[in-house]
């Protein structure tokens, strides 16, 4: 049961992607410094998946879908809270980073 929201943006998917996929881009609209973001996968400019968490709280998974729309771009975001423990998640990131 994810939380899902969407919005239309008058810009190209590439311009939206820019604001999602880099730290500099995110700084323009995301003001939550207490959260750590770890990007899981990127399929520019359409699909971006990241995990984020605050302190000791369980990490949640955020997926962005960016598609072309008459007004420019449509963004669908889905956030889910998975159940596996943080230790497993940390181990998984270690494998990815290695």
């Amino acid at each position: 049961m994810p939380a899902q929201r969407e919005i239309e943006i008058e810009a190209s998917p590439e311009e939206v992607w820019d604001a999602l996929s880099t730290e500099e881009g995110r700084e323009r609209w995301l003001d939550e410094p207490e959260r750590t973001i770890h990007v899981e996968s990127e399929d520019p400019p359409h699909r971006l998946v990241w995990w984020w968490w605050t302190g000791d709280e369980p990490a949640s998974r955020v997926e962005f879908l960016v598609v072309a729309a008459p007004a420019g771009a449509r963004v669908l975001v889905t956030e889910t809270l998975p159940t596996f423990p943080l230790a497993t998640l940390a181990a998984r990131f270690a494998l990815v980073a290695a």
Partner: protein, 106 residues
């Protein structure tokens, strides 16, 4: 609080278990035989699903049942998950509006 929500979402990710929860929301209580009669699965499978729902803190034995065990939703069990959904969706409305503002004024 967040630690309890994960198992709730995992429990509700299964359509059979969602059916059980919907049945309980509608009827107040149910039993293994009643569910097995309504679903295309064995009593054993029903019992496993009920165990998962119980482990997630969603259901409990209904009080006062003697011969045939009945189950009901744990009062307030769906609250935290529901709150998370609403809070998270509202937060994203906010963030998406700021994303839109940032991208459109570039």
């Amino acid at each position: 609080m967040s630690d309890a929500i994960g198992p709730v979402f995992a429990a509700l990710a299964d359509p059979t278990r969602r059916h059980v929860v919907e049945t309980l929301l509608r009827d107040g209580s149910t039993s293994v035989p009643a569910l097995a009669a309504a679903l295309p699965i064995t009593r054993q499978a029903v019992a496993k699903h009920l165990a998962t729902l119980g482990d997630a803190g969603l259901i409990e034995r209904a009080p006062g049942t003697t011969r045939e065990v009945h189950y009901r939703l744990r009062p307030g069990a769906l609250g935290p998950a529901n709150d998370w959904l609403h809070t998270t969706a509202a937060a994203w409305d906010d963030r998406l509006a700021r994303l839109k503002g940032a991208v459109e004024t570039r």
